[in-house]
Subunit: 145 residues, 2 copies
């Protein structure tokens, strides 16, 4: 886990990691949230309502968005992270078995508030962007630990 | 699960449900995401960096935000939901044991795109708002199912 303090972070700094989505993860997310929507479970339903856009059931967008939590809490800035707010846009479906690359880059720093602004994205194994996010992340004070 | 079509939904329509966050849910989210940040696990660390703001370790913001997936996929609109994008702002810490009320209200409909705009919030058992979200949700066509 990275342990960057606000002062150690600079605009342009990037972090990236990979994760493979599995059907076990989909089951875990369904159990966690109670989101039993058939789009995320039933291939025939997803194909029918997707009007040719979906190959099979689609992974929960908010499951893949949960990796933005990992990006902040483990990588950028890591240990002293507290997510303040984020905007997420879903652009392409993700399926179980897809290998995702999660990337974030610091695009601004708000000195007074100790906030970093991170432009983040998730790409699939075909280098297609499946979601984008703008994140405001507070850097907690390491002096207080 | 609700099965509202785009045509059946109207501005001002509200849905709500309750959920209690548990430490088992925190463990499941940690395992799912790999976000091993100590703020979400170690009481002493959270108290120290929180500078008096945190009573104990804090639940992952993105775990509580995952209930916005449930709001869309089960309640508003339910079965024909596909989240297009959302903005989330975290306002107060959530702790294991907190009872959350998740509420969404349709504030606009975009006829051409079949999108509903939902203003959502999560309150804790003390009626304090812990997060707010603006969600754009596509209503998939039921004709195609």
């Amino acid at each position: 886990m990275n342990e960057y303090t606000f002062e150690q972070l600079s605009i342009g700094q990037k972090e990236t990691f990979e994760v493979t989505v599995t059907s076990e993860m989909e089951d875990a997310f369904r159990k966690l949230t109670g989101d039993v929507n058939p789009l995320h479970q039933e291939d025939a339903f997803a194909k029918a309502v997707g009007n040719g856009k979906f190959d099979s059931h689609v992974t929960f967008g908010m499951l893949t968005a949960s990796f933005y939590s990992t990006l902040a809490g483990v990588y950028l800035p890591g240990k002293f992270s507290l997510i303040h707010s984020l905007e997420i846009k879903f652009q392409k479906p993700v399926y179980a078995g897809n290998r995702l690359t999660v990337t974030g880059e610091i695009v601004d720093k708000e000195e007074g508030l100790g906030l970093i602004l991170v432009k983040a994205q998730i790409q699939n194994q075909d280098k297609k962007t499946v979601s984008k996010a703008n994140m405001k992340i507070m850097c907690l004070s390491q002096d207080k630990q």
